[in-house]
Symmetry: C2
Subunit: 144 residues, 2 copies
Amino acid sequence: MTLDEIQIRRLVEEKAAALRARDPKAMVAGYGPDAVVFNLAPPLRQPGDARDPGPIEQWLSTFEGPMDAEVRDLTVAVAGDVAFCTSLNRLTATPRGRTESFDLWHRVTLGLRRLDGRWQIVHEHESVPFEMDGSFQASISLAP
Amino acid sequence: MTLDEIQIRRLVEEKAAALRARDPKAMVAGYGPDAVVFNLAPPLRQPGDARDPGPIEQWLSTFEGPMDAEVRDLTVAVAGDVAFCTSLNRLTATPRGRTESFDLWHRVTLGLRRLDGRWQIVHEHESVPFEMDGSFQASISLAP
């Protein structure tokens, strides 16, 4: 494994650890400027600066108790100052006012650039697929 | 624009043109071996070889009449033999047995590697977001 791949894998693990710690500033620390972000929630592309911890803080406030994140099947492709990663991630959380937690397995793609000597996330794409049976329900109960 | 970026943009446009032509072989021509594919439809990750035109042929048969594809806001990041692209794409099609076509705007990320001197798609992630209002409906009516 190259040093670049080690650094990128560490960045991915730090992001998951930041979620477990419910730390908004740490959760956005990996983003670069002008990141193109495709979230689980609408709109198609997130407006604003991904480095702003405000929206993350707001999102975290909709859950109570411990949160967990798992990164599985991480692949990293890197050359020069460009890289991308793919993984299947599990988010575990309890919506505020509920007693039961949920597990949401979803697909994650990251696009990275080395800027100022540091790998930074300039693209993030998180999603679940949806049912093509006419219901158009998001497939929130899948597992790898 | 570098020659690499020109080649990658051409690959993206050829893929859209292949869909307009309803040509399954042309639609899979850009994939490399062992591609990690996250589709609009379940499962989380597509099984099998993305270079197999069979599943695409089956999918095309669920639509009748002309199909259209538009690629908007294409970004390309490339270094050495690794690249990734992001875009917002529109699919226009008429389900078999229906009279009205639909437009589906969705997010697309491609991961590419230059293999045997040719840019090939080794990762594809296509999705729409879903509503976080408790309905878990896929957001199929968004536009950029």
